[in-house]
Subunit: 341 residues, 2 copies
Amino acid sequence: MLNERNRKILETIIEIHTESAEPVGSQAISRRSQIGLSPASIRNVMAELEELGYISSPHTSAGRIPTEKAFRFYVETLLQAGEGPSQGPDAEEEGSRLRGLSLEEALRRVSRTLSDSSRYTGLVVAPRFASAIFRRIEFVSLAPDRILVVLVSESGIVQQKIIPSAGGVSQAELEQAANYLNRTLSGLSVIEAQARILREMAEEKALYDAMVRRALSLSREALKDDRDDQVFIEGTSHILDQPEFADIERMRRLLHAFEQKSLLAALLERSRQAEGVQIVFGSETEHSEVQGCSFITANYSTRGGARGTVGIVGPVRMPYTQVIPLVGQTARLISRLLESK
Amino acid sequence: MLNERNRKILETIIEIHTESAEPVGSQAISRRSQIGLSPASIRNVMAELEELGYISSPHTSAGRIPTEKAFRFYVETLLQAGEGPSQGPDAEEEGSRLRGLSLEEALRRVSRTLSDSSRYTGLVVAPRFASAIFRRIEFVSLAPDRILVVLVSESGIVQQKIIPSAGGVSQAELEQAANYLNRTLSGLSVIEAQARILREMAEEKALYDAMVRRALSLSREALKDDRDDQVFIEGTSHILDQPEFADIERMRRLLHAFEQKSLLAALLERSRQAEGVQIVFGSETEHSEVQGCSFITANYSTRGGARGTVGIVGPVRMPYTQVIPLVGQTARLISRLLESK
DNA sequence: CGCTGGCACTCAGCAAAAGAGACTGCTAAC
DNA sequence: GTTAGCAGTCTCTTTTGCTGAGTGCCAGCG
């Protein structure tokens, strides 16, 4: 579709535009590229590229800016070529800094680091408790009608929720129930644990042990999947640095979208099972708020197979040769961290 | 200092400016106020007010803008007059919506609600675990050298942290230690618990029970006060709506300040012990980033005396007659919620 | 046949100029 | 003490003209 020379010129246009955020003229390309063509010849090529939809000009007397189609084409070749070297913060050092933090704090920190070193907005989705391996459960009676449940997974994911309590259950009874559940369910995946509970409840009528009955009914409530992903977004103020969002109204909508973490979680959902670094443009989603954005993400996994996502968000115009390795390495860093935990 | 008529006119200036965000002219005041003075007379008064430092004009042919001194004077009279009615969301309804959520989720929700109904940025500081009443401790061995600690307070504050483990301690041993600590420390304030541990450790040499020794040393690590307040900030995108921050650079600095939650926590620290609604202007703090901002806050308390803060941040020009009651009622709402928990 | 220099043309962006409008401060009269 | 009137000031907006970047096309060259 695109011969070697045209491809090379398109690449140059993207590179220049990535640095300047401005339309690129034929002269600038000629100066920059090694091809050794005059501006006039390059103009001919540019006419072709425009014909094909890879570049467009904002107005007659301006240079050209790469279209999303061009960026898609560009990142696709980059992703196929492999990540290349990253110049992110030292992974070893970073890893040991995270080692002493709770999972939540660690993920927040990673999001921050991603943001700081990319100068875009950092994004981390925590693994779902529901897809982890069950480790411990604890009940604390807060009020006669409300029980606090704390769940811990094998890799250290902590989840708390409050469940209603039918009749007043004493703290001692709650502890018995927790003990029973910890003995019975520990080491199972949460899915298996849920299945196990249902199975046992079906046989429950045969059981006369009130404690077991209580434990099962509590745990069913406790393990119910509420499905709201924890998302850590750091460095949203960096979007103010991006000239493409200079319009206040635009910024407002984008910031607003970032505030609704559920929106981002939904957006990243579809790439959750993919391997390697993923790139999605806002226009490729059904959310108009993130038009003009680009999401660079990669998944990490914990011991037990639960998966989470890390990434950065910025404008479509991004230094992909730098951010792709950064995101890729960060995902691997977290995987290593969580699998060793 | 200010006679009744001048006070009334200043008030009118503030009201008009609060709505329009623009300099206020003598004619507008004359039209609006019930005083029945001509613009010319009002101009005389304005000259006086300017003399006294309550208003200032951006340039010769513009109206006057109330100074921070004027706003300080204004809110002081408002605060003394009492809160007046709020038209925030129905407290009853809101309360029952929060009842089934974990503390963290509830506080985040409150911050969101504050932001939504004020159209400014919502702010909630969680009570410190260290100032709460100890309820439960739980240890989970994550790796031979790392132990996850989950702490729960009387009012349902959950805090997790990871502590290093000297020698490999088995999960069974950890459970014994937790049992011992739960028996011994439950119901004490965290401060008391810390003191108790130190006291017992001093006597430790006399003790030959290895389990108790281990429990004490673990708990000392676990209860160590790390002092990083949890702050929930919601609705930061609202600051983009404020004309006073229209300058991009200004916005960037402000958003950046909001991202450093520790900065806000430090800022709110000094009003933590106060009663009732507090108002602090950015210029009254030592943080230049929040110049031009106004913080309206109030404290809430939990069973056991731990305190937290709720509030909103916006420009100095704010509809204080509305936001003061809103913040006050929200603080009372949370207090009621947490004291009944 | 592809490449290139030359040239006329287009159009955004900037700066200077002009005009309109909003307020003020002052003065003189009530 | 209050007010109408008026001259003066200064911002904001609009207009106009200019400059410069960049394009498309054409004719000539290797």
